[in-house]
Each structure stands twice: as structure tokens, then as C-alpha cells.
Subunit: 208 residues, 2 copies
């Protein structure tokens, strides 16, 4: 089963929404409702969910609980992923504080920074190491996923040194630069300012 | 000219990359190189750029400078957008500090928070108001774009009150909840944890 990235993105969003609905005690939901809340077409919602084996009842919709459990299983991790976060600035700290990052799918096992005030201390319960030791620590702790919240200029160097450890399988890059990594390392990028630029572009087009 | 969202996303990424190449003094770039650096197919790069009127020279590629200027014009704003940032926590402060947010396309004109220690003070040079006054301040400052970096539970209420001002045209939502806004307000969402979930999903699939 090869799944396209936009489909996975929608799947994660359905899951998020269903969590919300479960918490609010809603029992059934239609593809229309889900589509409206997520700005997708109802037909897209039905297509996606039927692809994953869930068919709603005509005029009723989907069982919120059942659909939530079903999608949870699809998204479930086989084990906890070991994660390292590099760059404990404001964004890094914001991520550490995120509720969504307190998750049973992964475990942030090490922090890395260049700031000597931070190195050797625990930040939100996790020990911070020097970036100089990243290759060794990543190997020792078998870190599989890196979250990079370092300045653009430092990102490639840090990624190279961490990848040298041989344990890194994926990188989530928040630095506003394009990284090059070996083919066997999955790369995902979140460029926050790109989203703002996109929004402004569409606003301009709407006005024209 | 109706442009799909993924195309705009790629356009912003070409622009980012070209800025980098201009800074590094590179004169020409091929669609292959651009594709490799951004993880797109070379054919996708050629298709996108030719759609916007740029054809590379066979065996040579594109003029970096010229292509950069061309895409800059497409992405240019007709004027500076007035922006309000709601929620000056760690993520909000991280955004304020981002270099990419020091941009000539927009001007962050007001901050909003619930913290009485922040209200009435300037943070990175911008005055912070009480969220209670958001409707009035947004109207007074003619704020067109809101950046929401508030907790999930507060996001809808804050969005509703800001939209009441009648000046808001777009919202960039970082809160991990789905918002509903009037049809004439463009909504873009950045759910940081969604990106991590997607990466973990693909890692799992690679292993299976």
C-alpha cells in the first residue's frame, strides 16, 4: 500500500478532528460536516475514508468512536520512536511544551544546543548536550528522528554530523533552508514563513 | 489565473532556494539541481516554471538572477499587509524573532495576549494589547491578517472576536484545532505536530 503525502496529511487531520469530536461526546458525523470543518469537499472525505475501508451510512454518516479507533490503528506506531531535538531556542522550547508532543508514539531522548548555559542542564526534563557531541550521543541513544530547530546557517552541518551516527531515519526540519541528506533518510520540512507567504499570495489574488 | 495551492507552495520554495543561490553567487541552475535540492522531479520544476513563463536553456538551465526576480514579482505584495499576532507565548515570540518575518510584505502592527505582565508592554518593538480589546484594536489598526499562536481551546473564540472587526481577510492558525470562519476569510493552518505524525507514518511504512 503506497500512500501519497496529501492523503496522509488528510488522514492525520481526520484523526485530529475525530479526537476533538470524541472529547465533545459527538456520536455520529457526516462527510459533509467533516469536510466543512476541515475545508475539504465531502466527496474527498468519503473517497479517503472508503479507501481505508470505512463506508458511512447514507443519511447518517460515520460512527465517531469507531472511525476514530480505525484511523488511530492506521496511524499507530510499531514502537516508540527515539527523537532528538537540536536547537533549544524559542521554537524548540515551544515544541517541547506542545501537548501534541507529549505523545505515546515517540520519546524525546536528547536535546542539543550550542549555548553553554543550556548544555548539561535538563530542560523540561530532558538533558541537553553540546552539538559538538551530536554524532556520539545520537549513536549511543539510537536516535532515529531529528527535529531541527536551529538557525538556517547551522542546519546542514548539524544534519550531516547527526546522520554520521548511522541511526537517523528521518529529519523534521524547521530551519528555513533546503537540506541535502542521504537517500535513506526521510526529510520533512516545516517552513513557517512559507505558510504566511502562501496566505498573502492568495489574499493578493483574491483582491485582483 | 487560478493557481492551485501546491503550485503556490512550490513557487514559494523555488523563491526561497533562488534567494539562497543568489546569496551564494551561483549564476545558472538546472531544473535537475533545483529538483534535487527541493525533492521535486526535474520535470515538475520545468513544468511549473514554464507555466509562469520561464523556459530554461537546454543543457544550461536558468539564469539564477533573472528567475529570482521573475518569481519575486509574482509573489510581490501590492502593499504591506497589516498583521496582528495573537498569543505571545514561546511560539509567538519565536515567530516575532524569525528573520523571514522581518519582511517588506507585511508589518506586525499589534500583539495580543491574556497575560497582564505582557499587556501594555512592547515585545520586540510591538505593543501588546489585551485579547479582551481585540475587536476594537483590529478595527482601529485595520488589521487584515491574524496569526494565531494561542492554545487550542482559545482559538475559535479569539478568531470570532477578531473577525467581528470586519477588517480581517486571512488567518494563519497555529493552534492545533480546526477553526470555522466566514467564507470571505481565508484560512491557512500550520499544525506542527501533524508534520511529525506524517513523518513517523512514512517511517513506519518504510519499515513494513
Amino acid at each position: 500500500m503506497k500512500i501519497a503525502e496529501p492523503t496522509v496529511e488528510r488522514l492525520v487531520q481526520y484523526h485530529r478532528l475525530l479526537e476533538q469530536l470524541v472529547a465533545e461526546g459527538q456520536k455520529v458525523v457526516s462527510s459533509q460536516e467533516m469536510g466543512e470543518m476541515l475545508s475539504f469537499k465531502a466527496s474527498q472525505v468519503r473517497k479517503d475514508l472508503s479507501y481505508f475501508g470505512e463506508i458511512g451510512k447514507r443519511g447518517v454518516g460515520y460512527h465517531v468512536d469507531r472511525l476514530h479507533k480505525h484511523i488511530s490503528r492506521i496511524l499507530a506506531s510499531p514502537r516508540k520512536w527515539s527523537i532528538g531535538l537540536v536547537g533549544v531556542g524559542k521554537l524548540g522550547e515551544a515544541l517541547l511544551g506542545y501537548q501534541a508532543f507529549q505523545n505515546d508514539k515517540f520519546h524525546i531522548r536528547a536535546l542539543f544546543d550550542v549555548d553553554t548555559d543550556k548544555i548539561g542542564t535538563e530542560i523540561q526534563g530532558i538533558l541537553c548536550y553540546s552539538v559538538d557531541d551530536i554524532t556520539e550521543i545520537v549513536r549511543e541513544k539510537e536516535i532515529e528522528v531529528l527535529i531541527l530547530t536551529v538557525p538556517g546557517g547551522a542546519a546542514q552541518h548539524v544534519a550531516d554530523r547527526a546522520v554520521q551516527a548511522g541511526t537517523v531515519k528521518g529529519i523534521l526540519n524547521f530551519a528555513p533552508v533546503s537540506l541535502s541528506v542521504p537517500e535513506n533518510v526521510l526529510l520533512a520540512a516545516v517552513d513557517i514563513s512559507v505558510e504566511l507567504e502562501k496566505l498573502l499570495f492568495f489574499l493578493k489574488h483574491k483582491e485582483e
